[in-house]
């Protein structure tokens, strides 16, 4: 714990500041030992155990050895500790008993008596022995005897009070040992003495302190006592303890001051309340300021004196403890505290005196710290010292203001007097700083001496402080000092220097949203800018201030008036225009379009109502408000159509702008809002969308570094855009608060118009809103006239009247009187019209504007619909009824018959399902606006589908027609009719349809078995056919003569929708078909007989099956084929029969098929017998008997099926194969010729089988059943449950 600076050792009473140890006895001896002793004593530390539970400490002891004198011993009541001898040592090297008895004993006794008289018990007798002396006197008593004698005589029970030091000046181990023992003893005794004496002192001190409430108690006296203790600790280099003593004194004093303030005054304190006459600051260069100490001792110190002294001591100790940063911190506290205490004690202080004192003290502390630290240390601890710098700056500033050094004209006489008084209070410079050039004293004196010197010093200090604050990141503090500097510059009439500081500070406040500082700083800035003549900036700041609600109404009006004055001044002499940002002047709140979808056709009127919130305190007459509009032609024409309008922009046409004054004032204005635009990129080839995205158009504004962003006060970004398209509104008065302004414009060119800027002109001042965001656009479109025809229902049905809606979108075309739509009539489509046909005219926004009746004139070729008059961009809607005449679908036994085109076209459709046949009707319409015709295609569905079938009963023939309703509608049917188109007189078609009294009773239990009636036309029988249902009609075919091989029939049926009256006569539904080969040639009859002798057939027993094939007619035309063999009059044909039981009820035994030769003669019968066995019991249906024509293989022109086809066809269905064969012959020939090679290759030409057309063979046993009883010995009973 070596103090860092040697010269700082306190000097008190010319003595060295070490504990005093007196030496009595042989002075020469001591002198010889002293060098070793003083060197050895502090070498080793000793543990000092303390009273009152204080922590023990290791301590290096040093002593000041002085010759013993009685005066040194403290008198009773003397509290001085520094001069207190802690140990008394008596030195002797006597080894002669004689000598001891003669002189030494008396001498020691006398010494002891003096000590006893002063009640000092800390003593030690040292006997030095040397071998040299022993040698000389060998006859003397053993050396211990002298020591023993001394111990015996003086050290009553305290034998340790006498020590022996052997050969102290020799260099032997024995000497070393003896020295060590001695030193330890010495140290122990010294510490014992310290403990005892200091303890006693502290007790006394405490007692004194406890008396502080007594009237006569004096703080100064007590101060001196406790400081004594501090000195001792300092002497022992226990700086911490010493500091504690001063801190206790400090706290005690502070408490008294506080109590005084609370009315509990101590008498002694009144002395400190004497007015301040000297303010020469702290003195920290001397370890002890004796001058002030004496003042305290003599109880003449003022409060500042006491505080200064106390702090100087604390400072000294802290620097010993190497805690300089605590010094700076405590210094600031002290200075603040002193100012407060003087205020509290109501001490009269001349104005400026304290400022001087604080200023000097700050600099003194700073210089003191600089004196004991290197540069790097100081730089890294700026945060500790910057407070003092700032405080000094502040104080110098107030001194400057006080002494008139800041004013433009310099100090007046009063100021000068004050300065002189202040300087007088400083007194003369202390000697210790007299040589220092930069001493605080000199600085202050110089600063107060002239305006220039003050400015220099003040600027130095300010800049230093700002720099320091900035370097440690205390930006706000730096800005505040900068603002003071700005104030200073303003006073000095140099606003150009002030401006930058004000701007910086303002930027900071704005960024952090501190309203009051913003307002205040802005006000200062306005003044500065006014002085600088920065008209634009000044007006901008004024507008901000005029809208600032933190200012008083009068101030706001003043700034508003400033703007108006300027605007009016310039009116007379038109010069430059001043462009200001609008956000402080007025805010755009809402914008409302009318029409609300912001879409207007060419020539239409658009009005835009904007809501402006004027921030000015008074009404402002605005000459013009203009909105510049950016025009762009959109390539996307879709956007311009009226259709787009209905799909997009569902808003109510009001666009709200974000509130700039949100929760945090001024925050949003600090950075610009995002300006986002949609972006579409289309491929150049097919105009398909490649990419889409959002573009921020002001990235450069947003991503800019915060520091470099230009100040708000300079509206540098505000530029006026020149555009050809401007919306204007003149002579508007903007009242404070909400104003509504309406712009009207006539749409001219089609395209998109984007509102970009808003500019408000007041005289020559223009307030500009540089960007309107969110983006506001309106569109102007131009549209071609259009005609749209669409059915009212999902699909149109042919044959009945259907409604079709016509929509005429006029677009730019105005429909004049006489304009009409010319519809060229299609053959199969009628346009029906009624007198009450009305057209409705809608406006552009789908509002109904008028209604007019429709004039329709029809000629043979053309139907003309005269349109009602309608202005441009309107819509006319009307409905017409159309009737498509259904064509006659035909069908027949074979497709050889002519099919009509549409049917063939739709064949595939029909195959896919029960789809309706469609008819396309095309209408060409001539529109008045175009020279070209518009072709409209309408698709009609035929609601019905008819099928026919031929039914036989023996030789009798019936024709059945099935009509299926495919539509969703129900119909009423009547007048079913079937006629033979061949009109052969021998033929008669007799309807077998049930005769119903009323149409609605026609419905029988099974809807599928509905039978229509065919009555004469005079009585109408109506039949309902519901959606997706069928109706069947049957006719018997009667003939008188031989029948033609084929029959052409035409079926017709009247129908009309069930829901409507049959007000109009509709064309009946017709169906043509052809039946062929319908005459029955053979009758096949099968009979099963039970085995002989049994009544019934039994399972498992063979029964006989008799098949009889009977020819019913003579040779007919149809028989003439290759199977026929003719010999004379006798004709035979070859037939193949086949018994098949598909249901596996029967087992056919033996041959199940065979070829027979059949005479072609009426009633010729062929019988075949075979055995069948029933496999099951019960009523079993007869097995099927099939009959085919057997065509020999050698037939000349016949086509052959190869083996594969044969097998294949056999597998599928012989019937079908044969059925197909005829109608597909042309196709088959292709495939057979293709496979001819393979046929030959196989070398086996096969005979062919050809089934009879369905009408030619009548199976009279179809559907017959025979009872089979189970055989008795059946073990297995099979029960199948289905």
């Amino acid at each position: 714990m070596e103090p860092p600076e040697e010269p700082l050792r306190p000097v008190i009473y010319t003595m060295e500041n070490k504990p005093i140890v007196t030496c009595a006895g042989d002075q020469n001896l001591f002198a010889s030992v002293y060098p070793t002793l003083s060197q050895q004593l502090p070498r080793e530390p000793m543990e000092w155990r303390r009273s009152y539970g204080r922590a023990p400490k290791m301590i290096h002891l040093e002593s000041n050895f002085v010759q013993f004198k009685e005066e040194l011993l403290p008198k009773e009541g003397n509290k001085a500790l520094l001069t207190f001898p802690f140990l008394h040592i008596y030195w002797t090297e006597c080894c002669d008993t004689e000598v001891y008895k003669a002189t030494l004993k008396d001498d020691i006794t006398k010494w002891q008596n003096v000590l006893k008289a002063h009640s000092s018990v800390d003593w030690l007798i040292v006997v030095v022995e040397s071998d040299a002396k022993k040698k000389n006197k060998t006859n003397i008593l053993p050396r211990t005897s002298i020591v023993d004698k001394i111990r015996n005589d003086f050290c009553n029970k305290q034998s340790d009070r006498c020590v022996v030091l052997c050969d102290p000046l020799k260099d032997s181990s024995r000497t070393q040992e003896s020295w060590n023992a001695f030193l330890t003893k010495l140290r122990t005794l010294l510490l014992m003495s310290f403990t005892k004496n200091l303890g006693k002192f502290e007790d006394d001190m405490r007692t004194l302190r406890e008396k502080r409430t007594e009237p006569g108690w004096s703080f100064c006296e007590y101060f001196m006592v406790q400081e004594e203790l501090a000195f001792v600790f300092e002497m022992l280099q226990q700086f911490e303890d010493a500091l504690v003593q001063y801190d206790e004194l400090d706290a005690l004093f502070s408490q008294y001051v506080v109590n005084f303030g609370a009315g509990d005054g101590a008498n002694w304190l009144t002395f400190f309340c004497q007015s301040v006459k000297s303010w020469n600051g702290l003195i920290l260069r001397k370890p002890i300021d004796m001058e002030k100490r004496e003042l305290i001792q003599s109880q003449e110190a003022t409060l500042l004196d006491l505080r200064s002294y106390l702090f100087s001591r604390q400072c000294t100790l802290l620097i010993f403890l190497q805690r300089p940063w605590e010094v700076s911190q405590r210094a600031l506290e002290l200075l603040h505290n002193c100012v407060q205490e003087l205020k509290l004690l109501e001490v009269s202080v001349p104005p400026g005196a304290l400022d001087c004192w604080v200023f000097l003290s700050c600099l003194e502390v700073l210089q003191r710290i600089e004196g004991c630290c290197d540069r790097a240390q100081i730089d890294s601890n700026i945060s500790h010292t910057v407070g003092l710098w700032s405080y000094a700056t502040e104080k110098l500033k107030s001194l400057g203001y006080l002494c008139g050094l800041v004013s433009e004209n310099g100090p007046n006489s009063e100021d000068l007097n004050r300065t002189v008084d202040l300087l007088a209070g400083l007194g003369a410079e202390r000697p210790e700083t007299a040589k220092t050039a930069q001493s605080p004293y000199k600085k202050l004196k110089e600063a107060l001496s002239s305006v220039e010197a003050f400015e220099k010093h003040y600027l130095d200090l300010s800049h230093a402080t700002i720099e320091m604050y900035t370097s440690i990141g205390r930006i706000r503090s730096a800005k505040l000092v900068g603002k003071d500097l700005a104030e200073f510059y303003m006073r000095k009439k140099s606003p150009q220097k002030a401006e930058v500081y004000l701007q910086n500070a303002l930027k900071n406040y704005v960024a952090e949203g501190w309203a009051l500082p913003i307002t205040h700083t802005r006000k200062q800035l306005a003044e500065c800018q006014k002085h600088l003549g920065q008209i634009e900036n000044y007006l901008q700041t004024s507008s901000l201030l005029a809208s600032d609600t933190h200012l008083t109404e009068d101030e706001r009006k003043h700034f508003c008036q400033e703007i108006l004055n300027f605007a009016n001044e310039q009116k007379e002499s038109p010069g430059l225009k001043v462009v200001l940002s609008m956000h402080s002047f007025a805010q755009l709140k809402h914008l409302h379009f009318d029409p609300s979808n912001a879409l207007v056709h060419v020539g239409g009127t658009l009005s835009i109502e904007i809501t402006l919130l004027s921030q000015m305190p008074i009404s402002v007459q605005v000459e013009q408000i203009a909105v510049s509009v950016h025009f762009s032609i959109e390539k996307n024409s879709y956007r311009k159509t009226a259709e787009w309008l209905t799909k997009h922009k569902t808003s109510n046409g009001i666009i709200s702008f974000p509130n700039e004054n949100s929760s945090v004032p001024f925050s949003r204005s600090s950075s610009p809002a995002l300006e986002l635009y949609e972006m579409y990129e289309r491929s150049p080839s097919d105009n398909s969308l490649n990419t889409t995205g959002i573009i921020c158009k002001n990235v450069h504004m947003l991503l800019r570094r915060q520091e470099s962003s230009s100040s708000l006060e300079i509206p540098s970004g505000v530029t006026l855009e020149d555009g050809a398209h401007i919306l204007k509104c003149s002579n508007v008065t903007l009242d404070p608060g909400v104003n509504k302004i309406i712009f009207r414009t006539q749409a001219k060119e089609p395209g998109t118009y984007t509102l970009r800027q808003m500019c408000t002109s007041v005289g020559q001042v223009q307030f500009v809103l540089p960007h309107i965001y969110p983006i506001v656009q309106y569109d102007v479109y131009s549209q071609d006239p259009q005609l749209k025809v669409e059915p009212l229902t999902d699909s149109l049905l042919a044959g009945i009247p259907q409604k079709v809606k016509f929509t005429v979108t006029t677009g730019y075309y105005t429909i004049k009187n006489g304009d009409s739509l010319q519809l060229s009539n299609a053959d199969a489509m009628l346009i029906l019209f009624h007198a009450e046909n009305r057209a409705i005219i809608y406006s552009n926004t789908r509002e109904k504007s008028s209604e007019a009746s429709l004039m329709i004139q029809s000629s043979e070729k053309v139907t003309s619909v005269s349109l009602p008059m309608a202005p441009a961009y309107h819509m006319i809607e009307f409905e017409l009824e159309v009737l498509s005449l259904p064509s006659t679908p035909t069908s027949g036994e074979s497709d050889k018959l002519v099919n009509k085109e549409p049917q063939r076209k739709n064949k595939e459709k029909q195959k896919a399902g029960n789809c309706m046949v469609t008819l396309d009707q095309k209408v060409s319409i001539d529109c008045p606006w175009s020279i070209y015709s518009t072709i409209i295609a309408l698709t009609f569905n035929i609601p019905f589908k008819a099928t026919h079938s031929l039914l036989s009963a023996g030789k009798r023939k019936y024709i059945q027609v099935c009509v299926q309703n495919l539509s969703e509608l129900g119909f009423q049917l009547s007048d079913s009719n079937l006629i033979d188109t061949g009109n052969s007189p021998d033929l008669q078609l007799v309807p077998l349809n049930t005769k119903c009294q009323k149409g609605n009773k026609a419905r029988q239990e099974d809807p599928r078995e509905l039978v229509g009636d065919a009555e004469p036309k005079n009585s109408i029988y109506i039949q309902h056919i519901y959606s997706k249902q069928s109706v069947f009609f049957v006719w018997e075919l009667l003939w008188t003569k031989e029948l033609p091989p084929s029959l052409h029939c035409h079926f017709s049926l009247d129908f009309y929708p069930a829901s409507e009256d049959r007000s109009i006569s509709l064309k009946p539904y017709s169906y043509e078909f052809q039946v062929e080969n319908f005459f029955t040639l053979y009758n096949v009859k099968a009979e099963i007989f039970p085995p002989l002798g049994t009544e019934y057939c039994k399972t498992g027993s063979l029964c006989s099956l008799e098949v009889s094939i009977t020819r019913l007619s003579d040779l007919l035309e149809v028989d003439k084929d290759e199977a026929l063999t003719e010999s004379d009059e006798y004709c035979t044909t070859k037939l193949m029969y086949e018994v098949v039981d598909n249901s596996s009820n029967w087992a056919v035994c033996g041959k199940s098929s065979g070829v027979i030769s059949m005479p072609v003669t009426a009633r010729a019968t062929h019988k075949v017998h075979m055995e069948v066995m029933p496999l099951f019991a019960g009523y079993l249906p007869f097995p099927d008997v099939r009959l085919f024509k057997y065509l020999p293989h050698h037939s000349a022109h016949s086509t052959q099926l190869d083996a594969d086809s044969w097998i294949e066809n056999d597998n599928l269905s012989v019937d079908k194969n044969m059925d197909d064969q005829t109608d597909n012959s042309s196709q088959k020939s292709k495939s057979s010729s293709h496979s001819a090679a393979s046929v030959e290759h196989k070398g086996l030409p096969m005979p062919r089988l050809q089934p009879f057309p369905s009408g030619q063979v009548f199976n009279s046993s179809t559907g017959m059943q025979i009872l089979v009883i189970p055989s008795k010995d059946d073990h297995i009973l099979e029960v199948s449950v289905t």
Binding site: H336, V339, R476, L480, A511, A515, L516, S663
Partner: protein
């Protein structure tokens, strides 16, 4: 005559969703002062004190001291006022400026006042109609601050 001024600054670390375009910090949420004439001075003082708050908060982060200690203690003394600071875990700052002649206010009193403020602020935040980051216009909070100021003066 004793004066006291309270202030809150929200260092809005999580407020970026509120003000995405201005990374705003340290703006006042609530300022109250008596007497009102000195208000401007208090605003400057409190604003400047944020320097020290920032310093202390960042030092706290480095030292990883007990996170529950929200009281920052005396920020700095001035000639006339003592400025105390407090910062919540969400970095909402409370600053209290007290007349330095008011010796009745020791550290403990200040600390408990801050705790009271914090509690009241939490109540404000619990109000579903309060938008975090907005200025505080709560009568309950007002009353609490008033009562605290009256009590001290």
């Amino acid at each position: 005559m004793r004066k006291k001024n309270k202030n809150k600054n929200n260092k809005n670390l999580n407020a970026s969703w509120l003000k995405p375009y201005s990374l705003l910090q340290n703006y006042p949420l609530y300022i109250r002062s008596i007497p009102a004439e000195q208000e401007l001075k208090f605003h400057y003082t409190v604003h400047t004190s944020l320097d020290v708050v920032d310093e202390k908060v960042s030092a706290m982060g480095k030292a990883l001291v007990d996170q529950r200690e929200l009281y920052l203690g005396l920020l700095y003394p001035t000639e006339d006022y003592k400025v105390y600071g407090y910062v919540t875990n969400s970095k909402v700052k409370f600053v209290m400026v007290v007349d330095s002649s008011n010796t009745a206010l020791r550290d403990n009193e200040i600390r408990s006042m801050f705790r009271k403020l914090h509690n009241s602020y939490t109540d404000v935040m619990c109000n579903p109609f309060y938008n975090p980051g907005d200025r505080i216009h709560s009568r309950a909070f007002d009353n609490m601050v008033t009562s605290m100021m009256v009590q001290v003066c």
